[in-house]
Structure formats: structure tokens, C-alpha cells
């Protein structure tokens, strides 16, 4: 029997793969196209495809992880656990796969050990294959997740992130594999993570051969992107040199920066006498027949920049960053400078910063630095906090060489050596008081959260609370097809919408007129299951009309010097670090604000006693809003 099914343990899986004649395929549905598009595919669509995907007999379906946990709650408004549960019902045999950002899990910042443990434990109820990576290929950054996955009895798949350049030799990667095996033992799958789709087929073939040469029994899973249009070549080379599992996607959803089509992989390798073990090609085709019709509803989210991008070999920016980088360029009006940024500055920055792997969050650091360098006029004149952390080694040691001293000097000033000595290195993260978090969440929800809600909350606190409240109000919206959920421009009067809710009840909804009322509210009339209903939409706040007096940045700073701490920008409060009555010194952390996924501590600018706290966790702040007051220490002291 060469079929691999959910529930098998790693030894059984390894034994089956080693004994099989041919290679296996993972359907990377989560990673479909590396633009906003992939983050929008609704569970409704995945459920439509579930039956034929199950029938196709893949090694695994990558359906969670990466940014998906976040976009599930932020964009699709679906519970990431419910998603897996519902898919599991329709796909009882196929293994589900996740992508885990090492110590950053599914977020953007390192998590404490106890949060990692809890998160892995909850997700392991649904997730079979755990692909784990670190953008610095720093094994200790992944070790906690390795241990938890193995403890949970799930299939661990550590990655070596791949890139190109003189340092990126076979010897280097083979030694990295050794480092991994030293901590995990031999019962793993090894992933070659080629997220940018870098290198030629020849290069990938050599790499696979070198690893197999040193570790003949190792099972290799090749993951690549088709950004340059050549991933089928790389996959072919990988399999011919001994890779056992490869990643590809449903052809109706491929194109532009995503994985290549599954069917093309099968057809190509078949000519080399290699069989995709167990894969039912008819089911692969059937899936795409289902998906093709759905794609139109996602059109708005497709990358505006169509076509293949062989220049990825120069700038190495993974597809994930491509869409957003162009979007940024359009908004920031520097589209004309993109060739310079991508093809000159970015390669230069990569080499200057140690030629590490351009993948989350490292790719964002490279991109931001290159943009700042070009637009700012002075190279490294304005170093982001993340770049400083990178330079300080907080993400792990540089793999090949450290950036030059002058970059450190630019970033930290003349005392850079002292700063590096005092603050450098990976920091230990203290365990979080999870029970305290549970209580906070209980307060915010007004009821006891489930364990899964708590885990979701620990990943993305504010967005999770927003989502839970959304679900309370609007129900399980995954049941709405994309033609409704992603509808732009409103519906047509008299349009009839039909859908089946989470409880299996069918609904018939007819769009009625909209009417603006005297007070500015709008009444929307809908015929819900043949009953007329009125929905009152509150009038939008007219800009300026009712706006409070806003304080300037200088005014906010001046107030801060008097102990009246105000929010310097629009943000949500994600931590209140002090209590009323507490003594604080200059430089003490008072409150942490979160905006655009970045956390910014608000620091005491005077010493004194915390007097009155005006905010609590989750509050939305506008610039100038009161945070707290510090009663200054007596001047005589």
C-alpha cells in the first residue's frame, strides 16, 4: 500500500514513501498565488473543491499557516479552527499541512515557549504535517516548535530556506541539514523551501543530489514558486535527483508568482518515467473545473502586475512581497523608481546585509531598507526598528558574514560597538501569563472563551477580538459565496440571493430599495425568507463636521513632558504596562500601541506616579487621545 492517509505516524509515512515507486504531490492551496489573491480564497470555495481534492489522493493539502491564520480572521471572517474542522469532515483522509514561521508561529513576532506549546497543541488536532522555517536558517529559532510537533505525534518537516549567491553552496546546505537532524533525529521530512523560485533546474538538482549523497534515506519535500515560469524545470530536476514530494497547485488557480500546475508536473515527470503516487489525474482536472468558475469573483484581488517575472533571480523578492511592493509604489508615487529599487538597490542591500534568505520577515526588512535608501536620499540614513534588531542579531546570527561597520555606525551612531555589545544577541522570551490573557479575553468578550479562541487571540489579540464580535453579530459568514461576500458596488434591486447557512438551513433573500432618512441614516430593505426586514445604517461621520480638536505632534510631545501622555498616532492599545499609583522613571514603558501590526511602546518622559489611566486593552486611539497621567515628582527632590 503506497497511499498515505491522515492518522499515520511519521515512521509509517517515511516507510511508505521510501518503499513507493514514484513521488508524491502536495497541493499548496494556501500558497496559490503570492498576491493578495491567495489571502482571499474563501472557505466556501475550498469546501467546493474539497471533494475532488480528497479524491485526488495528494500527499497533503497545505491549507493553513503562514499569514492564513491572520487573514482568516481579518479578511475572510472565518474561524481558523472551524475552517479545518469543516474541511476535515469533507476530506477525511488527506493530510493537512501548515507553514509555521518558527518561533514567530503564524505571526510576525517571536512568541514565548508556553504560547508556542499551546498553539501547536490546539492546531495539531487538525494539522498533520508541520513545515517549519526560519528566515535566518537559525535552527534554535525553530527548536521549540520542533519539540512540540514531535510531542504531539505529528509529522515534522523542518525547512532549509534556499537562496543563491557564492555563499549558498551545497556544503553549506548539507551542513544545515546535519544541524537539523542533530536536534530532530532522523524521523522527519526535509523541506527545501525555495519561496522565491530561485536558481535553475540544474542548481536545484545538484542541491538535492548533494543532500541525498550525504543522507541517502532522507525524505525531501521540494517547495518552489513559479515566479519566473521555470519551477516545473526545478521540480523535474529535484525529483530526478531523489526528491520524494513536490509542491504544486490546481491549475485553474495558478499563474503569476504561485506554484506551477499539478497536472503539468504529472505530465512532465511521467515522460521521465516518474509516477505521481496515487494521484488521480481526473480528480485534479475536476477540481479545476469547479474552481475556474469561482476565480472571477476574486478578480479584484489578483495582482495588477501580470506575467512571469524572471527578474526575481536579480532582486530575489518572494512573490508574497511582489504584489504589496508594487501597491506601495503606486500609493507612494515611486513606481518610476521601481526598476532602480528592484534591480540595483535591492541586490546591493542583500549583499551588504549578509546575503540571508529573503522570506518573512527578512524579505520585508530588505525591501523597506532598499526603498528607504533610494527615496530617503541617504543610504541607511533612516534605519527601521526591524533592521536595527537584525543588525543586533536579535533574529539570530548572520549566516555568512556580518554587515560592514559603517552600516552599524549609520544605524546606531558612533557608540555602535557599545550598543552591539550590550544589546546584541537573541533574547530569551519570558513565558506569558496565559491565565491572565484568558481573563483579559473573557473581559473583552463578556464570556469565557474557548481554548481555540484563546489560541487565536494569542496570535493576533485585537483582530481576534474584532472577529469574535463580528461572528456574534453576523454569524458564520463562510457560508456566503464569494459572489456575495466579495461583492463590490452593491446588489441590483430585486436581485435574489440564495445561500445555505452553517446549520444547513437554506435562505432566500431579495434585495429591496435603499432609502436615506432625514437624520442621515439609511434604511435598507431586504426580503428575508419572504419577510420584509428593515436594516438601519447609521450615517457616516462627515469629516470635519464633528471632529474633535486634534493636537499637533509638538503639542502631544509637550503634554507628555507635563505627564499628560497622549496617543501620538492612530492605534489600538495592546498593553497597559503600569497600574495607577505605580512609580515610574523616565524611559519606563507605560503603554504599548499597535498600528499596522507594529507595536510601539509609549515611554515615560517624566518621572512620577501614574495618576489616572484612561485606556484599557483594545481601545482604539486617535492622535491626541488621553492615555494616562503621571503626577510629576516633587521638584525639590
Amino acid at each position: 500500500m503506497d497511499r498515505i492517509v491522515q492518522g499515520m505516524d511519521i515512521k509509517e509515512v517515511l516507510k511508505t514513501i521510501r518503499a513507493a515507486d514514484g513521488y508524491y504531490i502536495t497541493n499548496t492551496a494556501r500558497d496559490l498565488s503570492q498576491s493578495d489573491f491567495k489571502n482571499r480564497i474563501l472557505l466556501h470555495t475550498d469546501l467546493m473543491a474539497a471533494e475532488s481534492r480528497e479524491k485526488a489522493n495528494y500527499f497533503s493539502l497545505e491549507i493553513t499557516g503562514g499569514a492564513s491564520v491572520h487573514v482568516d480572521i481579518l479578511r475572510k471572517q472565518v474561524d481558523p479552527f472551524l475552517k479545518l474542522k469543516l474541511l476535515r469532515e469533507k476530506m477525511p483522509h488527506t493530510m493537512f499541512q501548515t507553514l509555521c514561521r518558527g518561533v514567530n508561529l503564524f505571526g510576525y513576532r517571536p512568541y514565548p515557549q508556553n504560547v508556542i506549546r499551546l498553539t501547536v497543541r490546539e492546531f495539531a488536532k487538525y494539522v498533520d504535517v508541520w513545515r517549519v522555517f526560519d528566515f535566518m536558517n537559525h535552527i534554535p529559532n525553530m527548536q521549540a516548535v520542533f519539540e512540540e510537533v514531535q510531542k504531539a505525534g505529528k509529522i515534522l518537516e523542518p525547512c532549509i530556506c534556499f537562496s543563491t549567491g557564492p555563499e549558498h553552496t551545497d556544503e553549506f546546505y548539507v551542513s544545515k541539514v546535519g544541524e537539523i537532524l542533530d536536534v530532530t533525529g532522523e524521523d522527519i521530512l526535509l523541506c527545501i523551501k525555495n519561496h522565491g523560485g530561485l536558481g535553475t533546474p540544474k542548481r536545484i538538482g545538484e542541491l538535492v543530489a548533494s543532500i541525498k549523497d550525504k543522507y541517502p534515506d532522507i525524505v525531501i519535500h521540494y517547495h518552489g514558486h513559479n515566479t519566473d515560469g521555470n519551477d516545473i524545470g526545478r521540480i523535474t530536476a529535484a525529483v530526478l535527483n531523489g526528491a520524494d514530494i513536490v509542491d504544486a497547485a490546481d491549475h485553474a488557480f495558478t499563474g503569476y508568482f504561485g506554484p506551477p500546475p499539478i497536472l503539468s508536473v504529472i505530465q512532465t515527470l511521467s515522460d521521465y518515467g516518474k509516477t505521481a503516487v496515487g494521484v488521480d489525474a481526473d480528480a485534479v482536472i475536476e477540481t479545476s473545473e469547479v474552481l475556474r468558475n469561482e476565480r472571477q469573483h476574486y478578480e479584484y484581488f489578483e495582482s495588477q502586475f501580470k506575467g512571469f517575472l524572471p527578474t526575481v533571480q536579480i532582486h530575489k523578492l518572494p512573490g508574497g512581497a511582489m504584489g504589496s511592493s508594487f501597491e506601495q509604489a503606486v500609493k507612494g508615487e515611486f513606481l518610476d523608481q521601481m526598476p532602480e529599487i528592484l534591480h540595483e538597490e535591492l541586490p546591493k542591500v542583500q549583499i551588504e546585509l549578509g546575503n540571508y534568505w529573503s522570506v518573512t520577515p527578512g524579505s520585508q526588512i530588505l525591501w523597506t531598507t532598499a526603498v528607504n535608501n533610494v527615496l530617503g536620499g541617504e543610504r541607511y540614513g533612516n534605519c527601521s526598528g526591524d533592521l536595527k534588531n537584525l543588525l543586533l542579531g536579535k533574529y539570530g546570527p548572520f549566516p555568512f558574514y556580518k554587515p560592514a561597520d559603517w552600516i552599524y555606525e549609520k544605524a546606531f551612531g558612533p557608540d555602535w560597538k557599545k550598543i552591539l555589545e550590550e544589546e546584541g544577541g537573541v533574547e530569551d522570551i519570558e513565558d506569558m501569563d496565559i491565565e491572565k490573557e484568558r481573563r483579559t479575553l473573557t473581559d473583552r468578550l463578556g464570556k469565557e472563551p474557548t481554548e481555540q479562541q484563546l489560541v487565536t487571540y494569542l496570535q493576533h489579540p485585537n483582530d481576534a477580538v474584532e472577529f469574535f464580535k463580528f461572528e456574534e453579530k453576523f454569524g458564520k459568514v463562510y457560508t456566503l459565496p464569494p459572489s456575495i461576500f466579495l461583492k463590490r458596488g452593491g446588489f441590483i434591486l430585486g436581485e435574489v440571493l440564495k445561500f445555505t447557512d452553517h446549520n444547513g438551513k437554506e435562505h432566500h433573500l431579495e434585495i429591496g430599495p435603499k432609502q436615506k432618512q432625514e437624520n442621515g441614516d439609511t434604511s435598507v430593505f431586504l426580503n428575508v425568507n419572504h419577510h420584509q426586514r428593515t436594516y438601519t445604517m447609521a450615517a457616516e461621520q462627515v469629516a470635519g463636521a464633528t471632529q474633535a480638536v486634534t493636537l499637533s505632534k509638538e503639542e502631544i510631545e509637550d503634554l507628555g513632558k507635563l505627564g499628560d501622555m497622549r496617543a501620538p498616532f492612530s492605534a489600538n492599545v495592546c498593553e497597559v504596562s503600569v497600574e495607577a499609583g505605580q512609580e515610574v522613571a523616565v524611559g519606563d514603558k507605560l503603554v504599548i500601541l499597535e498600528a499596522m501590526k507594529m507595536q510601539t511602546p509609549i515611554i515615560a518622559t517624566i518621572a512620577g506616579t501614574v495618576d489616572k489611566i484612561s485606556v484599557k486593552i483594545g481601545d482604539a486611539m486617535k492622535p491626541g487621545d488621553k492615555l494616562l497621567k503621571i503626577a510629576g515628582a516633587d521638584e525639590d527632590e
Partner: protein, 479 residues
């Protein structure tokens, strides 16, 4: 001649009265406070007068109501229930202003509103009453009087503030020791709360039925009754469900109660419509009080007798004699009224004011009567009571009536505020209710009535998102 009648009330009862006024060919004048600017009663009335911003204070202002009545040259005022309805000063102000007050005289209202005077009148007339004392003497003497009373009648007893009302100023006492301890407290508390430290004792009747009798009396003193109602299903002295006639199987007892009610009304020189309330303890019954106004639950009596009580009230007020005799009154079948309130029964009947009614679909058909003031799109003012609509059903047999009620409750769709409907849906399924067997302890002894799932269906939740998408022209949560 065409009369002009001002309705000194709001909500469903204002509409009920306006309808009767208009059916008689008269002109209905509504009054309203600012929060009621969108209320239905002012749309239905022939004229509407704004009397102030309120809330409540202007509906309760004798001066403002009389002023509005004078300015609009009205012939009579109907006070409805609540607000000024049982305020003798208001009836007196009408009398002094030469406006007919649709109800008894101010003197009758005053006498029956004062517990001690009312008890005295009833005692003199030989009306059975819960054994009780006069106002207790001050100090130690009062305590001794109390102990003596309890020795004779036994515990438990109720220690009541004479000036109290509406359930306030009442203490349950179970022993001599407790009586000694609480007696002085009750006095000082009554002083603080009602500026009158008079208190008296009453034997406590445990889990009685609340049975009341509708009476009508004309100016010549002809007094008849329209049979019984049972209002035992209450929460904290607030009636929820009322039926007519009472389901007590002992017909002789009910006849006796009705006769006693007429006797009580006559003893107090009663005029116009009123309700004599009794506590019924197995085969014993005790006079409680006379309500000198139209009751919320008058509809059930109307359904089983065919008598329009409000129409009759108006005619009597204008000096007409009763046009029917006691022998004309026939009780046909059964009627049940349920007060559909904007309240959350699961949250201690917390009012749901301030919410907008997004869907309003009411049942209809044979034997169904609705007295309400709510409409789709109406925002329930937070400052008044939470009664939305009274659902009254009438049927030939009790079973038929319950079946009709169940059908109506199931057909009712009100979204926006939470309502008492799901609670009532449980109630109609309860075997004791189906047998017509209930007393004032019903809610405490039938806790399962509160166990239901609030039906905010997935469909309506999803529809509200679709409304957002349609309004914003994209999904603001997925943009």
C-alpha cells in the same frame, strides 16, 4: 352633539381609547412628550398636542394636561391607566375645570386609593378581607398589638407601610423575634420612603390566585359585573398573562366573588368602570383593592362578554345609563391576553428600550385581537414602559384558546428588541398552563419557562451583513 375627548395617556391604551372615541363619532385629542414624537397614537388621533419634553414628567403634570385640554376646548378627559389615572387630584382638577373626567369621582378615587379608608369601607360592608390590623400604635404599644394579632392568626404575616404601594414597603415576617426586630425598622423606613411612618399587619396568604372582577356602575348607582379574570401569572407584581373567566372549577365560589365585587363597588359609591381584586386561597377569598380605572387586561373581558368597556366608560361619563343589565351579561368561551413586552425574560425581564423594531409581522385571523402601538422601523423610547402589544385570543373552549394562542405566538415576528414571545412559547407548552392551573408562584415554580434559545437565526445575522454590503457597496469587513 359631537364631543371632544382628550386622552391623557400614550402607547397602546391611548390608541385603544382613541378608537372608542372615534367610533362614537367624537373627536380624539392626543397629547405627547418629545420622546413620543414618532408614536402611533398621535398619528391616529384627530388632533395632537405637544405638552413638553418629558420624559414622563409632562404626562404626569396635572397642570399641563389641564392646560392642553382647556386650550383645545375638550369636553372630557380619559386618563387610561397609569400616569394620572388614579390620582384624585387630577380628577378633582378636571371637576374644577368643568371637564368631564372619564372615571369615578375624585372622592371615590381618594377613598379607594387609601388602604386604610378602603379597608374600613369594605369592613363596614362585610366584605371578606385578609385578616389585618388597623394602623399600629406608635412605640411599644404597636409592637404588642402586632404580637397579639400574630398569636391569633399565626405566621407568616406581612408588615406593610400604609402609604406604600406597588410592592414597596412590604416585609414578610415569620416569627415573634423577627417581628420585634423589624417592626421599628419598618416604621423608620416607611417614614423615610413615604414620609408617613404608619404601618399595619396582614396575614400572609401563601401562593394565592389573583382573581379580579370587572364592574361597571352608572350615575344612578346601577352596578353590574362582567365576570372574572385571573391574573396570577405575574413577575414581581407585574402581570404578564391574564385570562377570562377564571379557571377555578368551583362555579359557586366564582359567583360569590362576583356578587361580593358588586357589593364592594356599591359600598364605595362606585361610578364608571372599575376592577375589584381578590386573593383566592383554595375556597376562601379576600378583598385586596379596587382599581379605579380601565385595566390593561380589560380586553379579555371584552372578548368573552362582547361589551366594549371603553365605549361604555365614555357613555357613562356623559351621563348615560347602563344599556344592559346583569342578566344580559353572558360569558362566552375563554380569552387569554399576553403582554408582549420589549424585555429580555432571561435577563430578569430587562427592558430593551432604545432598540429599533426591524421586523414587525403580526398574526391575525379568527379570534385574534391586537392592541399595540409598535410598527416596523419604530424605535422604542427608553423612557417609558416596555409594553409593545397585547395579544388577546378568544376561543370556544380553553383548549381551543390555547391552541390559537400558540399559533399566534409562532406567527409573530418581531426583530430588533428581545421580547417576551419566546418565554410565552414555552408557557403555552407547559402542562399546568394547559390545564389552566396557576397561582402567583407560577414563575418561581416553573423555572424551565426561562430556558429557550434566543432565536437570532443565522439567516438574519447573515442578512444583516448582506445589508451592510449592499449599503456600503462592498463588504467593509473584507475590503
Amino acid at each position: 352633539m359631537k364631543k371632544k375627548i382628550l386622552i391623557a395617556n400614550r402607547g397602546e391604551i391611548a390608541i385603544r381609547i382613541i378608537r372608542a372615541v372615534q367610533e362614537l363619532g367624537n373627536t380624539a385629542v392626543a397629547i405627547y412628550e418629545t420622546p413620543d414624537s414618532e408614536a402611533l397614537h398621535i398619528r391616529i388621533a384627530n388632533e395632537a398636542v405637544w405638552i413638553g419634553d418629558g420624559p414622563r414628567s409632562d404626562y404626569l403634570s396635572i397642570e399641563k394636561v389641564i392646560k392642553a385640554a382647556k386650550e383645545h376646548d375638550v369636553d372630557a378627559i380619559h386618563p387610561g391607566y397609569g400616569f394620572l389615572a388614579e390620582n384624585p387630584d387630577f380628577a378633582k382638577a378636571c371637576e374644577e375645570a368643568g371637564i368631564i373626567f372619564i372615571g369615578p369621582s375624585s372622592e371615590v378615587i381618594h377613598n379607594l386609593g387609601n388602604k386604610v379608608i378602603a379597608r374600613q369601607i369594605m369592613a363596614d360592608a362585610g366584605i371578606p378581607m385578609v385578616p389585618g390590623t388597623q394602623n399600629l400604635s406608635p412605640g411599644k404599644d404597636g409592637e404588642n398589638e402586632a404580637l397579639e394579632f400574630c398569636a391569633q392568626y399565626g405566621y407568616p404575616v406581612m408588615l406593610k407601610a400604609t402609604a406604600g404601594g406597588g410592592g414597596r414597603g412590604i416585609r414578610e415576617v415569620h416569627s415573634d423575634a423577627q417581628l420585634k426586630e423589624e417592626y421599628p425598622q419598618a416604621r423608620s423606613e416607611a417614614k423615610a420612603a413615604f414620609n408617613d411612618d404608619s404601618v399595619y399587619l396582614e396575614k400572609m396568604v401563601i401562593n394565592p390566585k389573583h382573581v379580579e372582577v370587572q364592574v361597571m356602575a352608572d350615575a344612578e348607582g346601577t352596578t353590574i359585573h362582567l365576570g372574572t379574570r385571573d391574573c396570577s401569572i405575574q413577575r414581581r407584581h407585574q402581570k404578564l398573562v391574564e385570562i377570562a373567566p377564571s379557571m377555578i372549577p368551583d362555579k359557586a365560589l366564582l359567583d360569590q366573588i362576583c356578587e361580593t365585587a358588586v357589593k364592594a363597588a356599591k359600598a364605595s359609591n362606585y361610578f364608571n368602570a372599575g376592577t375589584v381584586e381578590f386573593l383566592v386561597d383554595k375556597d376562601k377569598f379576600y378583598f385586596m383593592e379596587i382599581n379605579t380605572r380601565v385595566q390593561v387586561e380589560h380586553t379579555v373581558t371584552e372578548m368573552v362578554t362582547g361589551i366594549d368597556i371603553v365605549r361604555t366608560q365614555i357613555k357613562l361619563a356623559f351621563g348615560k345609563k347602563l344599556s344592559f343589565s346583569q342578566d344580559d351579561i353572558q360569558i362566552r368561551g375563554h380569552a387569554i391576553e399576553m403582554r408582549i413586552n420589549a424585555e429580555d425574560p432571561q435577563n430578569n425581564f430587562m427592558p430593551e428600550g432604545g432598540k429599533t423594531v426591524t421586523t414587525y409581522r403580526s398574526p391575525g385571523g379568527y379570534g385574534v385581537r391586537l392592541d399595540g402601538f409598535v410598527y416596523q422601523g419604530f424605535t422604542i423610547p427608553e423612557v417609558y414602559d416596555s409594553l409593545l402589544v397585547k395579544l388577546t385570543v378568544h376561543g370556544y373552549s380553553w383548549n381551543e384558546t390555547v391552541d390559537r394562542l400558540r399559533r399566534c405566538l409562532r406567527n409573530y415576528i418581531i426583530t430588533g428588541p428581545k421580547t417576551t414571545i419566546p418565554f410565552y412559547l414555552n408557557l403555552v407548552e407547559d402542562p399546568d398552563f394547559q390545564k389552566g392551573d396557576f397561582d402567583t408562584s407560577f414563575l418561581e415554580t416553573h423555572k424551565h419557562l426561562f430556558e429557550y434559545k434566543e432565536d437570532i437565526s443565522e439567516g438574519s445575522k447573515l442578512a444583516s451583513l448582506i445589508a451592510e454590503i449592499h449599503h456600503k457597496e462592498l463588504n467593509p469587513y473584507a475590503s
